[in-house]
């Protein structure tokens, strides 16, 4: 059964009644190319795979008998517009119109197992393999046409969705016609040659988002928008604070509330299913629950607690002798940087709809990790994973925050208990309280500078935020980065760029600090130490030039700040112009320039869109976002108590993407995002001479120093 709102044509939500992968390989006609993402192509074994075998591939591409091309890939669409970019890449290699390509993402029955691709770098990992598979399909189709006409392969070419005979362009055959009656399943082995860049017609063009029409008409179906016959609505009892354990719950009165179908209690899980969401909520409120409260984490102890629980996890970029170099340095500069917990705060709260169908359970969940959800649902319900299907509909923002499978497990428990489909969607308060956060971090940096003003030693201790972006792009002769795992008082998880934003903040602010202490220009300082990183050097130079860095003369109260960062394969340099109101300490970011290099640009406008969005999110981290909590209770539970950037604060943006078409496409949004907070902090220093080692750069903190 297929929910209303879920169909392939509107927004790519797969049809639950459609063929599964296994069935598809057995039954489907046409030409299918199987391939592996992120694995060596040779490793997959070569030759033709018999139809029906399902092993060792993570994605596939099919040319149907109707000539339609479908790409199946694991990473869900969460607003990064992966669907359009993959369609562009496949259509390009097959020289077929973009409209003839469909992309199915995030359906555990129809896409292969998730190789753990994260959204920010999906285009680099999946993109290349999709191109190669499409190139392989092109070769297969060309060979079939050549054989049919009795000519060598070199005499045929693909054009506008057909194979054409070069010597006589009137002789042509559609891809669908070639695929008709075929049951050809080919495993990609040696990569077929990719189309030369000079012949690109679609890649590098700003094709509009395939999902766009569904978004602007309200037809895009997010998990909470799906409707099934006899759909009921769930609500789950949540603890009063983190780590609390349920002692007992009096549910008798809830069960008799109007519209209540059932109160479900399984161990310490308590949920209500009702005919309407508001009735479920009302009934839930009438449950008298007794809790044993857990450890009462409070913010005041955050950074102290991280340090106290630190265990060395890894050492990175170790070079030379840091201790000796620090001891012998002419100048030493140390500082400790702090970044707080941040919330993903997607506008769409977590939601899942579960429906038991025979001995199977189908869960529609707004998640980035459908395979994790499948596994968790199967384990919680004591089913085999093969009996659970997770389908990802449209997702209203994720940012790394829609990983944990709790919502799917809860919906599945309720659906199984009542024997009808159940939709579970979190309230804003639940969304902000019961999901993961971006790790808070403490980063200690010590550096030693020689008499000539060279940074000879760089020693960083990174607490709790992990290693992403922790190794500097600069070449310091003596260097050591130690990454420590800590006990986090709040549940934490992925967040755009992971630790990259905290690590970039510490590094880029510290570099600015050293430059100002030495009386050196911050851009010159960066360029001098970017010895081996040519890509970063290129974006830094281009940004300084574009901005007119050397000639800048900011008036009093205004400042400009510079920072650079690499993430998800991209390099970005950011210049921020700020205005600081001395009386209030209020920082206003007036303009942000981003110069970025992301390899081959598949869709320039989409890349700009992603960068722009990353900048806005980076501004939130720079100026306002910090999750507050006391006594194990999250206090940032609404947009009023956790304000995110609004259109009012959105600065003028200039995005420059440097061409690098010979390197593979790279992730879009996060490199610039990571550089925004340090650029703003450096600009605030430029404006008022005050440097804060901590975000957010809140007025109360800045005022304290004026």
């Amino acid at each position: 059964m297929n929910p209303r709102g879920a169909d392939d044509s509107s927004n790519g939500v797969p049809d639950a009644s459609g063929l599964t992968r296994r069935e598809f390989l057995r039954a489907a006609g046409g030409v299918v190319v199987l391939f592996s993402i992120g694995r060596s192509l040779e490793a997959g074994g070569g030759g033709s795979a018999p139809a029906g075998t399902v092993a060792d591939f993570d994605a596939w591409l099919r040319i149907g008998e109707d000539g339609r091309i479908t790409v199946f890939a694991p990473t869900p669409e969460v607003g990064q517009n992966l669907r359009t970019e993959l369609a562009q890449l496949a259509a390009e290699e097959l020289s077929t119109p973009l409209s003839s390509v469909g992309v199915v993402l995030g359906d555990t029955d129809r896409v292969p197992d998730d190789p753990g691709v994260c959204a920010s770098s999906a285009i680099s990992t999946i993109g290349l393999t999709v191109r190669q598979a499409a190139a392989e399909a092109r070769e297969i189709l060309a060979a079939m046409a050549a054989e049919r006409w009795g000519v060598p392969r070199a005499e045929v070419a693909l054009k506008d969705g057909r194979v054409v005979l070069a010597s006589d362009p009137k002789t042509a055959i559609g891809l669908g016609e070639l695929a008709r009656g075929q049951r050809l399943v080919r495993r990609l082995k040696q990569p077929a040659p990719l189309k030369p860049r000079a012949e690109y017609a679609l890649v590098g063009k700003s094709a509009p988002a395939i999902d766009g029409p569904a978004y602007v008409t309200g037809k895009a179906a997010f998990a909470a928008d799906l409707r099934l016959p006899k759909l009921a609505y769930g609500k789950v009892l949540m603890p009063p604070c983190l780590g609390a354990k349920l002692v007992r719950a009096e549910t008798a009165s809830a069960a008799t509330q109007p519209g209540v179908i059932a109160v479900v209690q399984e161990d310490d899980f308590v949920g209500v299913v009702a005919l309407r969401p508001d009735l479920a909520e009302r009934a839930l409120r009438s449950i008298q629950a007794t809790w044993e409260e857990g450890a009462h984490a409070s913010m005041a102890a955050l950074y102290r607690g991280l340090r106290a629980s630190a265990k060395l996890e890894e050492r990175l970029g170790v070079r030379g002798d840091v201790e000796a170099s620090l001891a012998g340095a002419r100048h030493g500069y140390s500082a400790s940087y702090r970044t707080p917990f941040a919330a993903h705060a997607p506008i769409e709260p977590h939601a899942a709809l579960a429906s038991a169908q025979g001995d199977r359970i189908v869960v529609y969940a707004g998640t980035q990790r459908p395979f994790d959800h499948r596994k968790a649902v199967a384990e919680a319900l004591g089913m085999s994973a093969g009996k659970v299907r997770v389908i990802v509909p449209a997702v209203g923002g994720a940012f790394g925050g829609k990983d944990a499978p709790d919502i799917s497990v809860q919906a599945a428990r309720l659906a199984r208990a009542v024997g009808r489909p159940v939709l579970l969607s979190q309230s804003r308060e639940e969304e902000m309280s019961w999901n993961s956060f971006r790790p808070a971090a403490v980063i200690d940096v010590r550096c030693g500078v020689t008499e000539k003003g060279e940074i000879a030693a760089w020693d960083a201790d990174v607490f709790n935020c992990g290693s992403r972006g922790a190794e500097p792009p600069y070449t310091f002769p003596n260097q050591r980065v130690r990454v420590y795992e800590c006990d986090s008082p709040l549940p934490q998880g992925r967040w755009r760029g992971l630790g990259g934003s905290a690590n970039a903040f510490a590094r880029e602010v510290h570099l600015d600090y050293v430059a100002s202490e030495l009386g050196e220009d911050p851009v010159g300082m960066r360029l001098r130490h970017l010895r081996s990183d040519a890509r970063m050097k290129r974006v830094v130079r281009a940004a300084a030039e574009r901005y007119g860095w050397e000639d800048r003369r900011p008036p009093t109260g205004l400042g400009a700040g510079f920072a650079c960062a690499a993430d998800a394969g991209s390099c970005a340099a950011v210049v921020a112009d700020v205005e600081v109101e001395r009386s209030s300490g209020q920082v206003r970011v007036r303009r942000v320039l981003v110069v970025q290099e992301s390899g081959l640009v598949v869709n320039p406008d989409n890349l700009c869109n992603q960068i722009e969005g990353g900048v806005v999110m980076g501004l939130g981290l720079a100026l306002q976002e910090a999750v507050r909590y006391e006594q194990g209770r999250i206090l940032s539970r609404s947009f009023a108590s956790y304000p995110i950037p609004t259109i009012r604060e959105a600065p003028a943006l200039e995005i420059v993407v440097l061409p690098a078409p010979d390197s593979p496409p790279q992730g879009g949004a996060t490199a610039a995002l990571c550089a925004v907070a340090p650029a703003v902090a450096n600009a605030v220093f430029d404006a008022i001479g005050r440097r804060l080692p901590e975000v957010p750069l809140a007025p109360v903190r800045l005022r304290a120093g004026l």
Binding site: G79, D211, Y215, V216, K219, P277, I347, I647
Partner: protein, 160 residues
């Protein structure tokens, strides 16, 4: 009691609906669960994000904090009611599409409804006015500069 038993009558996108819903229920809940109009989104439930914006007699309101009784006898337009009879997009929808003023698309219906109301009142808004009027609408993907551009583009088209 007789008073509360009287059905609520609302005209939604031109169609009249007689509802037995409790008067205190939110308009958003009624639109989404009773009428199946899921283009209007829940984002916060307290009027802070704008995702649930609909037009009530042409005025933008937050459906999540509007009791359905408030819409009794009145006319509601949701995102589903913006397209022309021939399926053509409203100029604001078209402009959001042309400018690609979205990423995940979740806040988009609310943004578009507010922009439609704004342009009815002020056919030629400055960028500053747009920012002021749209300030109650959150886009976590951060597509704000595009939203300003889209509304300006729609305004230019509608003035023609």
């Amino acid at each position: 009691m007789a008073e509360t038993a009287r059905p609520i009558v609302i005209r939604v996108n031109g169609t009249e609906h007689s509802l037995g819903a409790e008067r205190s229920r939110s308009l958003l809940s009624v639109l989404r669960t009773e009428l199946g109009l899921t283009g209007t989104k829940y984002g916060c439930g307290s009027g802070e994000c704008g995702a649930c914006t609909v037009l009530l007699d042409g005025q933008p309101v937050r459906a999540c904090t509007t009791p359905v009784s408030h819409a009794d006898g009145r006319s509601v337009t949701t995102i589903e009611g913006l397209e022309g009879k021939d399926g053509s997009l409203h100029p604001v929808q078209q402009a959001f599409l042309d400018v690609q003023a979205f990423q995940c698309g979740y806040c988009t219906p609310g943004m578009i409804m507010e922009a439609v109301a704004l342009l009815r009142k002020d056919p030629n808004p400055t960028a500053l006015t747009i920012r002021e009027k749209m300030a109650g609408h959150l886009c976590r993907c951060g597509t704000y500069s595009r939203i300003v551009r889209a509304i300006q583009a729609a305004a230019a088209k509608m003035r023609k």
